[in-house]
Assembly symmetry: C2
Homo-oligomer: 337 residues x 2
């Protein structure tokens, strides 16, 4: 079509109507079930469908207006894999290594040593803040455009060590279907991750159908200035906001401005986001991906150095939140399975 | 309809198709013109339609994919009036006055004295930061829900001194039409204001059709904690982010993550947002509302104590940005005119 404004908009709506008409005859009654083909017919899938049906039923007391159907998803370990290390750690290690010659003072920092050695237990002990601060220093002075390009290039060339595939291939197929299923039911999907916001925004639209403005993450300070006569945003050597643990409800407040009705995580870093979601009025869905599949993916929870799931698992069990047994409930993990 | 998921979704699409069919016959060719009835047929309206046509024409080099059609609007003086003082100042004065007995240390602060006296020239000289910090202290300890309720109550009972109407009646009808026109052309509209983010989020959906997650503004720090056994976000006595001047491109980066292609402001506080928009690749629209109507609204620009338009006016004239002459180009200012 030549133009998608005005008249063409109506034409499109008309064609969609015709398409809908032609589909109605052949449409199976079990539409919802078919929207989640990579989910086995277990308790998690049933709970998801039950919840979505309850908030979209206009006659039910549980009905929620489309505009308030806010769904939030953690990223690492919830929408894609996070083993053997958070994928962003590989990117960060490359960035920090490249910047290291200019920063002799880093040599003695425990976070620098651990990152260079990819010593994940040590990094987890140090916590995400010093590591993200190191990255902020490494990329200080880059414009946001240059940084986006560095991420994009890195994703293009790098491969996951176990699967020898681009990292973006390690997105969970059942979760992609869940995102589509919610979207078809007029939910607004957001990512709320402890990872760097730019790292996800570069590929979230392509991988998840989630545009940059619906990605919330940890974020470095930037400054508006002129560079070579052109206005740019330049990265400063300072972490501005850590979107992890109790930071997640704060990030939701800053970027969304209200409580979600649907939240999915996989670790203790998601606990406050799930609690904040649960605290709202009306129907709520809280879900956890439980990594139980050491064949197709990885199996880990209470004692893991990455994506530790301990307190959140207790609270989920105590409060009846949905815990997805990946091994039992996912017919497929990745699209390439 | 009973349920808006699955099968019902298709039914709705089908009905929309039928509706579109019935409308096609009667649809006027001048659809775009009719979408902006409160705009006279002047240079601003023509520039808006020309721009929107150029980015929606799929055969043109200027085509922009719907997902990248980001439009940003300043609020005070751009979407609604800001005279005799920013409307939020009235709210703030009431909040600060109520909290004053607990803060004897405020009595000597120039920002407190100016706010109590509603001395706008003094307040503008002091700048927005100390004033917003005072408000943050006044509301410290409130939960975000309590704060939203305080705003909502205040808006319900308060009246604009000149028009004796609720402040939300002072939204500009031509700008409302512009928001709808852009939306019909698959733009995503955002507010990017120096005002407090919560103050706008409470009513932006109703007044502008802009949901809370598309409102960016100055924002106080909040903390996630338990209060009476319930998870809440509590306001802290600290301004976290000032979304004004060079802060506006930073706010856009934080919440949207890419450059807008369309920006509208009305004062020097919007200059950097307009520069940042103009700096992107491809077609761009930069607009300024020029307050020239001392009968229906107010007339002010280079020397005003509120919404000073000086440097941005020079740059607009030098670079060919669109300057809307309110008196000449708006057939209507408010819906009640």
């Amino acid at each position: 079509m030549k133009n998608d404004s005005g008249y063409a908009l109506l034409q499109r709506a008309f064609l969609q109507g015709l398409l809908a008409l032609s589909l109605l005859a052949a449409w199976p009654a079990s539409w919802a079930a078919d929207a989640l083909p990579s989910w086995r017919d277990g308790p998690a899938k049933q709970a998801i469908i039950k919840f979505v049906t309850s908030v979209t039923d206009t006659n039910a007391k549980t009905y929620v207006r489309p505009d308030d159907r806010i769904a939030v998803f953690d990223n690492d370990g919830t929408l894609w894999s996070e083993q053997p290390f958070y994928f962003q750690i590989y990117f960060m290690a490359d960035q920090v290594r490249a910047a290291a010659p200019k920063h002799p003072e880093w040599q003695e920092l425990p976070e620098f040593k651990a990152l260079m050695a990819r010593d994940m237990p040590a990094l987890m002990k140090i916590g995400p803040k010093p590591v993200l601060e190191l990255l902020a220093q490494a990329n200080s002075g880059m414009t946001t455009d240059e940084y986006d390009k560095a991420i994009d290039d890195w994703l293009f060339f790098s491969r996951h060590p176990r699967f020898n595939r681009p990292y973006t291939d390690l997105v969970y197929q059942p979760m992609k279907e869940l995102l589509r299923y919610l979207e078809m039911n007029f939910f607004k999907n957001f990512i709320v991750s402890g990872g760097g916001i730019e790292f996800m925004r570069v590929w979230s639209k392509k991988a998840y159908g989630i545009p940059p403005e619906r990605v919330i993450g940890s974020i470095g300070e930037v400054k508006f200035e002129e560079k070579d006569g052109k206005p740019v945003l330049t990265k400063l050597p300072k972490l501005g906001f850590l979107d992890d643990g109790p930071g997640k409800p704060v990030g939701i407040y800053r970027n969304i401005g209200r409580q979600p009705i649907f939240a999915f995580g996989n670790s203790d870093g998601d606990l406050q986001m799930l609690q904040w979601t649960a605290a709202g009025k009306g129907p709520r869905f809280m879900g956890l991906v439980h990594h139980t599949d050491d064949k197709r993916e990885w199996a880990y929870d209470r004692t893991s150095h990455i994506g530790k799931l301990d307190k959140a698992l207790d609270e989920a069990q105590a409060k009846g939140w949905v815990v997805v047994d990946m091994k039992k409930e996912w017919a497929k993990v990745y699209a390439f399975d």
